[in-house]
């Protein structure tokens, strides 16, 4: 990949770890827009992102990877549009502990379909330890049925090396496509 800065978008349902992922990767304190949650989110956590998260990561070759997190709730889909503008690829985080992770994945793949088609995506499955089901297998099956193959990892969105793996994989996928 040429030595140009890149912009990566993090998407996925509320509570899947988008803000955490960006926080643990970013070289700077994350620009966050968390407010008190009043919707169903409240059952899981106190606050929720309503506009965006922003941080950046400098790679060894000196280029910057700008990291943008999107709000999870679909009422904020206008922010998805705004934030993907000029983006290089998508990290989709899926929460394994939600009732229907496969439906969540398909929803966001549909919502970001055009962006993913033009760029690329990787999927991280978070909170796997809180689910007794084989979510990895379930999501793989769902992807196969959809006819879309994407790199997929089980991750802890609070762990540097896990999130780094997602971003490095995405960058590798993107540079292979060029």
């Amino acid at each position: 990949m040429a030595a140009a800065d890149s912009k990566i978008i993090f998407a996925g349902p509320v509570g899947s770890g988008k803000t955490s992922a960006i926080s643990c990767l970013s070289d700077i304190p994350v620009v966050s827009t968390d407010v008190d949650a009043s919707d169903e989110t409240k059952a899981r956590k106190d606050t929720t992102t309503v506009a965006m998260d922003y941080g950046f990561l400098s790679l060894e070759d000196g280029t910057l990877v700008h990291l943008y997190g999107t709000p999870g709730q679909d009422r904020f889909d206008f922010m998805w549009q705004i934030l993907t503008e000029g983006g290089l690829g998508l990290v989709l985080l899926i929460d394994a502990a939600r009732p229907d992770p496969a439906a969540d994945m398909l929803f966001y793949l549909d919502a970001f379909e055009k962006f993913i088609a033009e760029t690329g995506a990787v999927i991280g499955i978070s909170r796997v330890d809180l689910s007794e089901r084989d979510i990895y297998g379930l999501l793989q099956q769902s992807l196969i049925e959809r006819g879309q193959l994407l790199p997929m990892f089980e991750v802890d969105a609070r762990k540097d090396e896990d999130v780094n793996l997602l971003v490095q994989t995405l960058l590798a996928v993107l540079s292979a496509e060029v």
């Binding site: 620009v31 966050s32 827009t33 968390d34 407010v35 008190d36 949650a37 009043s38 919707d39 989110t41 929720t48 309503v50 506009a51 965006m52 709000p71 709730q73 009422r75 904020f76 206008f78 922010m79």
Partner: protein, 148 residues
């Protein structure tokens, strides 16, 4: 800032409310009164800080759900920006459009008031009227919290 405060005071005094009226108006009444009193204000919306509609008086076919989400996103991002730039607490966000203004302001910690004006409104007056309505919303929320 002083001018705005002065206008707020004048508008508040001129409204001639019956002394210390402790009974908080309902959100719908507050918005209705705002639109009745303020000639330049065409629409108003109260939302939660995380973007869910609570009450609205919107013109035309504006979707309250969509504008609620946008209001919270705008205010949250503006608040973050002003804070990080050392500009302190955000009072309101002011969008000047060629066809009218939009104000988004905090109404306490958990509610947001958004107001749409007509083309070329009286800036100071409409801001003051909106701020006064926001203060009423705060009062309403406080009364409601007490009642719970």
């Amino acid at each position: 800032m002083d001018l705005v405060d002065e206008i707020i005071k004048k508008v508040t005094d001129a409204s001639g409310e019956g002394g210390s009226d402790s009974q908080a108006d309902s959100l719908d009444t507050i918005l209705g009164a705002l639109l009745d009193d303020a000639d330049d204000i065409l629409g108003a919306l109260v939302t939660t800080a995380d973007g869910l509609p609570k009450a609205q008086r919107l013109p035309g076919d504006l979707d309250p759900r969509r504008f609620s989400a946008m209001s919270s996103a705008l205010l949250a991002l503006s608040t973050t920006m002003a804070r990080e730039a050392g500009k302190g607490e955000t009072m309101n966000v002011l969008i000047e459009g060629k066809e009218g203004n939009t104000y988004v302001m905090h109404a306490g910690n958990n509610l947001v008031l958004t107001v749409f004006t007509k083309i070329k409104p009286n800036l100071g007056l409409t801001l003051a009227q909106a701020r006064r309505a926001a203060d009423k919303v705060v009062l309403f929320a406080r009364e409601k919290a007490k009642g719970m």
